[in-house]
Point group: C2
Chain length 304, copies 2
Amino acid sequence: MSGPLINKFVVVGIGLIGGSLATGLKQRGACREVIGISRTPQSCADAISHGVVDRAYTSLREVASELGKGDIIFIAVPTLAVTAVLKEIQEVIDPAVTLTDGASVKGSVQKAAESVFGKVPAQFILGHPIAGSEKSGVTAANPNLYEHHRVILTPLENSSPEHLQQVTAMWQAVGAEVLSMSVEEHDQVLGATSHLPHVIAYSLVDTLAQDIGNPNIFRYAAGGFRDFTRIASSDPVMWHDIMRANKAAILASMDLFIDNLSRLRASIEHEDSEQLLRVFSRAKEARDDFTQMLAQRAVHKRLN
Amino acid sequence: MSGPLINKFVVVGIGLIGGSLATGLKQRGACREVIGISRTPQSCADAISHGVVDRAYTSLREVASELGKGDIIFIAVPTLAVTAVLKEIQEVIDPAVTLTDGASVKGSVQKAAESVFGKVPAQFILGHPIAGSEKSGVTAANPNLYEHHRVILTPLENSSPEHLQQVTAMWQAVGAEVLSMSVEEHDQVLGATSHLPHVIAYSLVDTLAQDIGNPNIFRYAAGGFRDFTRIASSDPVMWHDIMRANKAAILASMDLFIDNLSRLRASIEHEDSEQLLRVFSRAKEARDDFTQMLAQRAVHKRLN
């Protein structure tokens, strides 16, 4: 072996997602050096004092001249801030540097790259780690966050195989399983399995807090309610950005859900026992199959 | 002390709720004997072999003559089966025996008792333990299920203070905190904090399984989705019964939720950032306050 997988790993935006990948690569010796970029000097200082990065700067320009082949820039800023980062990259970063990102919506990143570069550059491999937490910020950074988690890459026709291989190896180095699909399928799948549940959780908590008209309502809620609404404690700004960035897919899945729920409402109103039992039973079956699949996947990982 | 709190504890319906209370009282020495009643002989045999009850019968009639003051009958059958049990009680059980139940909806039990007895008898204290699991059946019975959980009793004007005191002491003996409220408030509160989330979880899983049109959709869902939909693995028959029994309150809270979600949908469609951030932020705040209250309650319990 000729040394670590990655030479310099540069993380732009040192929050939970970026900080966890940085400290994960560092602890596993998968990169020679970790450089953090954050607009606020306090975040830079925090990232250094928490041992998440080796050096930190408030602008990518300060390290641009030292980056080349074998280095990776990971864009981990809120979705709607990606365009500004890409503009800076377009101006100062060498096309030999590998670029990737962790944004929850891929269509909006593709559009941002097209608006800045004309087309998505071959060096830029769009990606999304399916991991997270309702916690946020560099203090929540966890070197094992991605272990046994999936990362979806959405390479394009002109993506460079070398850069794709480098990004794949980077995620595998922190224990993630790497999958590939189209930008469109990614945004539809995540719209339904992640973005829709978040909107529902926010709306349910808001309904109880604002609309029910019983100020004691939460006093009698139990642990099941806490688990069900955990994702409503997620960062509002991040989720606002996702709603804007994946608007079409989210609206489409919200419409399907509101239709389904309205049909269920009619079955309750008309005391249609047969239909209620049919829906509850097939939902339970689908959900039990899903958890069995997750369990088998975990066993498979322990055996391999 | 003159011996255990309860003489004979009779549990009608030996599933998770009834079995857990039976084995909890037994293990704590809070009753002299536990008798199980189940219509199916196999359930009787299972309850005995799992050590959940001392004796078991397929009909309450077989033990009626031996029950009197100091004994408790706990009705733990599915909500819509309560009427049949009450009819048997009305025919063969002494008015000195304490009666209580664990059904999730109290208005329907009150109506059932009124239809059988004319009015709810003074010996019958309606109750509901706010505890459960997506598992069910006697094999899931857990003697510590109710520890640190709340039990809501809904006594009526003519309820007997002695029977109320006996039921309160019974729940405290297994570590539960006993609260009191009206039947109407109970059903509204539970409709919003428990029944509504269950309908939503069933409907969300069903939307993904039936309506999205992507057979691989669950392959890419993550642990967050598993936690969010855990309650969709609950027993379909039990939840069908609850939908029937608490129909009015559930429909009312579904309407409030569908309205709230539809307003959120409009904010997403019109990219109303201010409104999205306002809703997400106040939902996060309400949910964070709620979990802080649960945490303080847990600390308070450890200190006392």
